[in-house]
Symmetry: C2
Subunit: 146 residues, 2 copies
């Protein structure tokens, strides 16, 4: 499904003809090890632990680069934190976001175009985009809850 093979990020970046320096490659590998979604805080901590010599600035610069390359999607959480999601930022999709573990599952085929069009027309609004995210508990976290 939405499973990315390890280091696919790295491969995708290189396929785009980007030459990556060693620190950046290392950061990207660490990102890949974090799963499909992570916060800046988690990444900074992981980098600090695994590559203590790499500075914060380089981490942020790499995130920016991956975002610019459309390899990483940025989601604002209600609490203000930023969640980065690997996968398919270029294809229109929505999210199931787990309040428990933070896992993010992507949903394609949104089917909201009609609703967006209807509401926009009704309000004289010209829609340019929309967001739709579902928050809740994933199957695993539902089990853990009891």
């Amino acid at each position: 499904m939405s499973t990315e093979s390890p280091d696919s990020l790295l491969r995708q970046a290189e396929e785009r003809g980007i030459k990556l320096a060693t620190s950046r490659r290392r950061i990207i590998q660490i990102i890949s090890s974090l799963g499909t979604a992570f916060t800046t805080g988690k990444l900074l901590a992981a980098v600090a632990r695994q590559e203590p010599t790499i500075g914060r600035a380089t981490v942020f610069r790499t995130l920016q680069l991956l975002h610019d390359l459309h390899l990483l999607e940025r989601i604002r959480l209600d609490n203000g934190r930023v969640l980065y999601v690997t996968g398919h930022p270029h294809r229109h999709h929505h999210h199931l976001i787990c309040n428990g573990c933070g896992e993010v599952r992507s949903l394609f085929g949104c089917g909201l175009e009609a609703l967006v069009a209807a509401w926009s027309a009704q309000q004289g609004f010209r829609a340019q985009g929309h967001t739709f995210d579902i928050y809740g508990l994933c199957a695993a976290c539902q089990r853990d809850e009891k």
Copy 2:
């Protein structure tokens, strides 16, 4: 429609039995003068201009209070800024957010329950809530655009 009469915020807060000190009352009046949606930055600037003696902290404390009272809704914009919206934070609704002027229009009767339920069931997810916001240009900004 979603027009709030001036100072309705103040009235609503007092109806809840909250005793408001002068600074807070003044801040709430300024909020009311900003329309139905505003960013923290806009409010801080307005307060600094109209009531230079009131400090930032008090503004933030008042925003927090109004949010706790469910009189103000907080929306995270893509750029990370916080948008506060007056009106009906307690009733489930969605937004039309104008990319031009920042106006926010609320939409009731979301009709997404079936979609949320279908997608959640399909993924073994237990939905607890969802967001749905439409971004675009309001009628006025469409005219200004040309």
